[in-house]
């Protein structure tokens, strides 16, 4: 039932080691596929040279020229090719040029190394500033992948009149999802009843994205493409849009060879070529009156979108909408741009633009407090949004919002006041260890931005099985977040059944409807809501058709379903998303209800810095959030704990080092994610405030925990070390040393 910590549905298989991830699937006679990629960030592909000593005639080879349908990956913007052809422009390092496959995996790798790509190099644009400078235009006429303006009131007259105008520039680096299971695909393409059938099994968040991409790649109708989601070893957005690429590649090899194909990336390749979090640069300008009331905010928010637009427009959108964070401000101007560079296109990573803009605003608020001579807590308190206030897009807060209560709860839990007082006494003493506490207050919009849900028009359903149990029919995928369990709980609650009688149908596009992608913190709230409706409809149909009499027991329900299935054959009931009437959004003016609702949070961190080495230890962490209603407390806490770990990693250690437009620290030994020794116990507190739009009142929580940790930790660093230039993440020891020296060397 909703609110219970039901055991993870697929948990037993996971602890037994019997869960089947993509590479575990036995496919006899399969070829091993590999991808040959450019090491040059920009240039014209002149030729592909096949080296000596390889029996090339035994190989299946696929180039752009082979593609039967459209050589463009279906996405938000269809601008990325699957493969680059001779005479075409290579636009980023690691771009795929040739696919090869062979039964011998060792020979396949040897062959990959024997291919030499002849590329006539062109000047490349490798960072945000170079892209803006426009000395070299690599995309469209102005290197712009997307531009968004959000305007509320008019900040311009305010600057001159305000008591204080404070500016700041903040940067965030790329971040790698580092799911422990690298990207993996299997494919079989063979005729079925005289028609070509493309099937892909893979580690993927969005079966219908891959389905759409394959249809377009092969020019095939819906029924001739099938996508099956395997057990997934983590995703975090890194398997949201990229699977359309490697799924397409696997299918091309299977199609050309007529054999099953395994396309399993190793870690080095996955790190170098798959999607990452967008790097960002945010310039903020804020006006305050003498009491510290926020009068105006101007944000210049820029994302490095890599070589193709792909998901950047939507990441930019979410980042832009979150730029003003949780503050009431009458005059707001947000200018958001995603610019092109010759780097592998970034994609989705938990948070999806919001961590970037929220880092800037939450760092900025602490810096403003310092400059205004105000307490960081009180500066925020007086500027928080309340019910009835409007956000930057004009969205009116219609819920009973108590940000001050959330903040006070978090600060009390970490002992904020006492620790600040204690550290103020101990830090000036001799000794290399300096301590600090800091916090961030933030929100995360649940579900798609704006009209996204209407565009997707998700469908989900329930099915009665022969044994009288119920199966959830949805394209949502389990990546560890607990979708299988939460959906079962929602349907069980709606049907008043024990959760043991509800499970999930295999996520196979042949059998489940398009409930939309598993992204955007939407699954519980949006798809769960549809499932609630479908379950009630299912029950009503059973009653109307005379199989079920109310009130019923679980046993009689099960018997009724079994009887109905035996009688009717198939028993399914679907629901579909319908936009609530009071939600309005204008895509052109960027005005209206950007999200159906938000989850709200305050995170607080205590840090200890060793000035001898600039190593930072997170000694304590508190995460307080209001998420509507918690469907499964244990699973929900797990989401927060895992998200906080990723957020701390992004704040302190996770750096993508680029050279010549490619990641050079592409090994786990050189891209540092937290081990068990690096993290404290995290105190997790859930507050509830039921949201009518979600099942049982639930909002979304998947991405929320990614937004708060980095600014909380860096704010804590400022408390520990004083007013250093702490405007960037990751604040690695090397970077922190530089910032300390800026101050001490004058």
């Amino acid at each position: 039932m909703i609110g219970a910590s039901s055991i993870r549905k697929e948990g037993r298989a996971k602890v037994l080691g019997t869960a089947i991830y993509t590479d575990d699937k036995f496919m006899p006679g399969a070829l091993h596929g590999l991808t040959v990629r450019s090491e040059v960030p920009r240039g014209i592909l002149r030729a592909i040279h096949f080296g000596e000593g390889i029996p090339w005639e035994e190989f299946t080879l696929v180039t752009a020229a082979d593609i039967p349908g459209t050589n463009l990956v279906a996405s938000v913007v269809d601008d990325q090719p699957f493969l680059i052809g001779i005479g075409e422009e290579i636009t980023h390092s690691q771009q795929a040029v040739l696919l090869l496959a062979h039964p011998d995996r060792f020979l396949a790798e040897k062959a990959r190394r024997a291919v030499r790509l002849e590329i006539e190099e062109l000047p490349a644009v490798l960072d945000i500033q170079s892209s803006l400078d426009l000395h070299t235009v690599i995309y469209g006429t102005d290197n712009l992948l997307k531009e968004i303006h959000i305007a509320k009131g008019d900040p311009d007259p305010v600057w001159a009149q305000a008591a204080h105008v404070i500016e700041g520039e903040y940067r965030t680096g790329a971040q790698e999802q580092m799911y422990i299971e690298p990207n993996a695909m299997l494919s079989v393409v063979e005729p079925k009843d005289g028609l070509l059938q493309v099937t892909v099994w893979g580690s993927l968040q969005c079966p219908y994205y891959v389905h759409g991409a394959l249809k377009q790649l092969f020019g095939l109708p819906e029924k001739q493409v099938r996508v099956v989601a395997m057990e997934m070893g983590g995703a975090f957005g890194g398997k949201e849009d990229y699977p359309s690429v490697n799924g397409g590649h696997a299918a091309l090899l299977a199609w050309k060879s007529g054999r099953p194909v395994r396309l399993i990336y190793d870690r080095e390749e996955d790190l170098a070529c798959t999607t990452k979090r967008h790097p960002s640069r945010t310039r903020l300008r804020t006006a305050f009156d003498a009491e510290g009331n926020l009068l105006a905010l101007a944000a210049d928010f820029i994302l490095d979108g890599g070589a193709y637009a792909t998901l950047s427009p939507v990441v930019l959108s979410r980042g832009a909408v979150h730029a003003a964070s949780v503050y009431r401000c009458p005059h707001v101007r947000i200018h958001a741009r995603a610019v092109a560079t010759n780097t592998p296109p970034p994609g989705a990573f938990r948070g999806f633009g919001a961590p970037q803009s929220l880092f800037a605003m939450e760092r900025h608020m602490d810096r403003c407090a310092r400059q205004l001579g105000l307490d960081a807590v009180e500066l925020r308190r007086k500027n928080f949004l309340h019910m009835g206030d409007t956000m930057a897009t004009g969205q009116v807060i219609r819920e009973d919002l108590d940000l001050a209560g959330i903040m006070d709860r978090a600060l009390a839990a970490i002992g904020y006041r006492d620790k600040r007082a204690a550290f103020a006494l101990t830090n000036p003493e001799e000794g290399p260890i300096k301590r600090g506490v800091g916090f961030s207050v933030f929100m995360h919009g649940c579900g798609f931005t704006g009209n996204g849900e209407s565009h997707v028009a998700s469908v989900a359903g329930v099915q009665g099985l022969a044994d009288g149990t119920v199966a959830v029919l949805a394209a949502s995928t389990e990546m560890g977040q607990g979708k299988n369990t939460v959906f079962a709980q929602i349907v069980a609650e709606a049907l008043q059944l024990p959760v043991e009688l509800v499970d999930t149908a295999p996520v196979d596009t042949d059998h489940v409807p398009n409930s939309g992608p598993t992204v955007a913190s939407r699954s519980t709230m949006m798809v769960g809501r549809i499932l609630e409706d479908a379950a009630i409809g299912f029950k009503q149909a059973l009653v109307q058709q005379g199989f079920l009499v109310e009130p019923y027991t679980p046993e009689s329900f099960q018997a009724a379903v079994a009887k109905a299935v035996a009688t009717l054959g198939t028993l399914k009931c679907y629901g579909q998303y319908h936009r609530p009437p009071n939600i309005k959004w204008d895509d052109v003016t960027y005005q209206g209800d950007a999200y159906p609702t938000y989850s709200w949070a305050c995170y607080a961190a205590e840090v200890a810095v060793d000035l001898d080495t600039c190593e930072v230890k997170v000694a304590d962490f508190v995460a307080v959030q209001e998420v509507g209603r918690v469907v499964n407390p244990t699973l929900a806490a797990g989401q927060i704990e895992g998200g906080v770990a990723q957020g701390i990693g992004w704040g302190l250690w996770e750096e993508v080092t680029m050279q010549r437009g490619r990641m050079i620290n592409n090994q786990m030994t050189n891209y540092i994610i937290p081990t068990s020794v690096d993290l404290p116990r995290i105190q997790v507190v859930f507050l509830e405030n039921a949201h009518a739009g979600g099942p049982g009142g639930a909002k979304g929580i998947g991405e929320l925990p990614m937004d708060g940790p980095a600014p909380a930790v860096v704010n804590a660093l400022e408390n520990a070390l004083g007013a250093l230039r702490l405007d960037e993440v990751p604040m690695t020891p090397d970077r922190l040393l530089e910032r300390c020296e800026e101050v001490s060397h004058g």
Partner: protein, 160 residues
């Protein structure tokens, strides 16, 4: 090209004999020759620990062990932890506490934790962290894994 060797090894109590290249990785012998796919490859560098197995009673990264060094050895993989249909107390604790989210690190994590509890029957949080430092998890933040190990260690102490 080296000649294949006849590799004799005991896995989860069962004797096996497979013909493999002497430099084949133990990870591949388990997954491909013996079709025990519970042990996973996450990095191939000995960093993530997803490939952890017990080799002659010690945790090792099976992606770094050449077959030639496993001759006559005893190996325990995740498939060997349950007692028939009954989960080990550690596996059961992982279920109760949500110690497995995506589950990909779980097999290696279970092996390392099993070894830890054997060596250290009453571990503190820090001792558990230390014992699991070689098993990376990206989903859980480790908190519920620590909880699960505490529970399993207590159950094991009670049972002894």
């Amino acid at each position: 090209m080296a000649e294949c060797i006849d590799l004799n090894l005991t896995v989860n109590g069962a004797d096996h004999r497979v013909s493999v290249h002497p430099f084949a990785r133990l990870l591949d012998v388990l997954r491909e020759d013996l079709r025990l796919t519970g042990t996973k490859e996450g990095c191939g560098e000995g960093e993530c620990g997803a490939c952890t197995v017990l080799l002659n009673g010690q945790v090792v990264n099976s992606c770094l062990v050449p077959a030639v060094q496993v001759q006559g050895a005893e190996v325990v993989t995740v498939e060997g932890l349950a007692e028939g249909e009954s989960l080990s107390s550690l596996q059961a604790a992982f279920l109760t506490h949500n110690g497995a989210q995506c589950g990909f690190c779980t097999p290696g994590m279970l092996l390392s934790a099993t070894d830890l509890i054997n060596r250290c029957p009453n571990p503190s949080d820090d001792q558990i962290r230390d014992g699991l430092a070689g098993n990376l998890c990206r989903c859980t933040g480790y908190a519920k894994i620590l909880d699960a190990v505490h529970t399993a260690a207590a159950d094991t102490r009670t049972a002894r």
